[in-house]
Every structure is written in C-alpha cells, then in structure tokens.
C-alpha cells in the first residue's frame, strides 16, 4: 500500500457517493486545499535554513558568480529542499497523524492527498535539479539530486523508523546545502565546504535532542525510535554534551581555512564555549530538576543552538566581506 494513500480527500466524488453525501454536505464539512497548503508541504521553515546556508556557501566561495545566477542557484537549491519536504510528508503521513504537533499538516488533515504530495515532490525534484544544472553546473545539480535522495529515501524511508541514530545520520541532508552552494560557484568540493557541512552535521544532534527533552512527543506511539525513548533521557543528555565537544574543533578549524579570519574565529570561540557549557549543564541535570523548572536549561540551550548556527554562518559572511586570511 502506498503510504499516504489512506488519506483520501473527502471531496473525492466517489467518497462522497459512498458516504451518501450531497454536494452541499460535502462542501459544508470537507476541507479543500488552498495554495498555502501546497506551500506548507515544502516545509518553508526548513527551507529558510537551506536558503541561508546555501547562500553563505556560495557567497564565501573563491569563484565569483553573477548576482542573478546566485539568486537562481539558491532558489533552486531551496526548491529541491522543498521537494524533499513534500516527499517526507507523503511518506510520513501515518506518523504525522499520530503526533499532536503534526496532526494539522495538509495530508493528515485531509486537505491534500498523499498522491498529490508525491507528485509535487517528484515534479519539483526534476525541475530543481534540471534548473540548477542549467543555472550553475551539473556537479552541483547531481549533488542536489543526491541530497533529495538522501533525505527522502535514506532518512525518511529507512533510518527514521529504524535507528535512534536517525537524527545523527539524517542530519547530513540538512548539512549539504552550503556544500551545494560552494559547488555552484566552484564546480567541486574542498576542505572549506566539507567543514561547513561538518558544522551543521555535528550541530544537528544536540539541537534536536535538546528539543526532544522538553517537547515530549509521542514518538513511541508513532513508532519512531528517538534516543529519548529507546535509551532514556539520561543517555540523551550525555550524548548532547558529547556532540558539543565533537562539534567545537570543526567549527574552529573552519576559522583557520581560506574562508576564516579573526572575526569568525572570535565568534566561533565564544559560541562554542557557551554551547559546551550548555551541554555540560544539561548532562549534569537530573530529570526531576528539569521538570521542577519546566526544562529551563534545555529550552535555553535549544535557543542558543539556533543562534549558534546562524551566527557562525553570519560571521563567515562578514569575514568574507571584510577579507579572509
């Protein structure tokens, strides 16, 4: 059975006929998709991260590009990210219907069918990859196609429901955009683009696990093996601290490459000290203490993690503007 196909839109004439509904009944009680529902399938909030990091990857690359080609490249990378979001929503419609946070999404709420989401995802994949190839180069386009495949197939269809390390390995999909941006300008990869990848890759686990500690979603009922459920919250706390330690050297190493400089290094040093300190505090807390103050530290570290990534990439932009090493 195709996932998502169990969510037929109630406005389907056959369903109305079976339910004995007149047109009036159907129109009064059934939702129908508006344009915004199809936009919601593309996960616009995730796209904003893709747009920003891909743009920075392009901006700091040593090969200049025409501004309009930069705009188009970032647009098609974002469109590819949106396509993988639609494919993710198509496959995960059964999980989304169980969890409170995702129950209102277009497919589980019945406004969009699984088939429509699948068609949109595949169609946008083809358009985004082809157009990026024509705009920038075919290496970057192939990289984008691989990223969509990684997120939709490796992460969504395989890892997410199989291993508690789903967030760790699946985080690679979110970490590829700056590498694709860099590849658009240079036609290849380098140590700088790999380190931008590593920065997001190792940032993802502490970011999501900090969220998972205070957003107690029913992953167990949804059949998703989150670390908080499979190994417990104490193990998750230790993992958060461990990843902040692994992350720091990569963040600082980026500052020593051709895209780095004193501004970036200063920002990275301060942010990594704060992030490691936050991870340490999370690890040292017991669950009882956290419940008592409504996960104040976990919420603070999660908020810090948002600033952490944004400020690192912003510092790269500023450093490039004033002049790197």
């Amino acid at each position: 059975m195709i996932p998502g196909s169990q969510w037929p839109r109630p406005t389907d004439p056959l369903i109305q006929k079976r339910a004995g509904m007149s047109d009036t009944h159907a129109y009064d009680h059934t939702p129908e998709a508006e344009f915004g529902d199809f936009v919601a399938l593309l996960k616009p909030r995730v796209m904003s991260l893709v747009v920003f990091t891909a743009f920075v990857g392009l901006w700091v690359a040593p090969v200049p590009m025409h501004p309009f080609l930069v705009f188009c490249s970032v647009l098609f990378i974002a469109l590819g990210g949106g396509a993988s979001g639609a494919l993710n929503m198509w496959y995960d419609a059964d999980i989304d219907a169980v969890m409170n946070r995702t129950r209102g999404r277009p497919i589980p709420s019945g406004r969009v069918t699984g088939g429509e989401a699948l068609g949109l995802g595949l169609g946008l994949t083809v358009i985004a990859v082809m157009m990026l190839g024509l705009t920038a180069n075919w290496f970057a386009a192939g990289f984008l196609a691989f990223t969509i495949f990684f997120y939709a197939v490796i992460y969504t269809m395989w890892l997410k429901r199989w291993t508690p390390q789903n967030i760790v390995i699946g985080g690679a999909a979110g970490a590829f955009p700056p590498m694709i941006g860099w590849a658009c300008a240079t036609g290849g990869i380098s140590v700088e683009s790999f380190l931008m990848f590593a920065l997001i890759f190792f940032w993802t686990p502490p970011h999501f696990w900090a969220l998972a500690l205070f957003m107690k979603e029913d992953y167990h009922k949804a059949g998703v093996p989150m670390l908080t459920v499979t190994h417990g919250r104490a193990v998750t706390r230790r993992h958060i601290f461990g990843y902040t330690l692994v992350l720091a050297p990569f963040a600082l190493w980026l500052g020593l490459t051709s895209v780095g400089g004193p501004i970036y290094l200063a920002v990275a040093l301060v942010l990594n000290v704060l992030f490691i300190r936050g991870g340490w505090q999370i690890m040292r807390r017991s669950e009882e203490t956290a419940i008592a103050d409504n996960y104040a530290v976990e919420r603070r570290v999660f908020k810090l993690s948002l600033y952490y990534l944004f400020l690192h990439f912003l510092a790269l932009m500023v450093q490039h503007w004033v002049g790197a090493w």
């Binding site: 129109y27 129908e32 998709a33 508006e34 344009f35 915004g36 199809f38 936009v39 025409h66 309009f68 080609l69 188009c72 647009l75 024509l134 705009t135």
Partner: protein, 67 residues
Amino acid sequence: MVMQQFQTEHELHRRRRSRNVGLGLVLAAFVALVFALTVVKVRQGDLMEAFDHQPRTSIVPQDEASE
C-alpha cells in the same frame, strides 16, 4: 435574503481561486526567470549550442578549425 446567499462567496470558491491564482503567478514567475536566466547566460558568453545539422565549432579540433 435569498439573493444575498447567492452573492456571498463560499469558502470553497475562495480556496479554489487561491490555488488558481497561486499557480498562475508561479508559472508566470518561472517564465520570467527562465527568460532572465537566458539573457544573463548569453551576455556572459556561456556555451549554449543546439544541434543545427552543422559541425559544432566547439568540438572541432583547434588545428582543423584554423585550416
């Protein structure tokens, strides 16, 4: 009273119009984007060749081309 009900736009029509207008704007933007992209590419002197039943100058060896 009855006339007023006919004149009032139904939610369903609003949603359909939203889809139609949205898709129309996306298509128009895409056409404009491809046009602008073509202009930029051609002005940059990027290699853009289609098959036109003639030898492609870019793949003819340099020596042969100069003869």
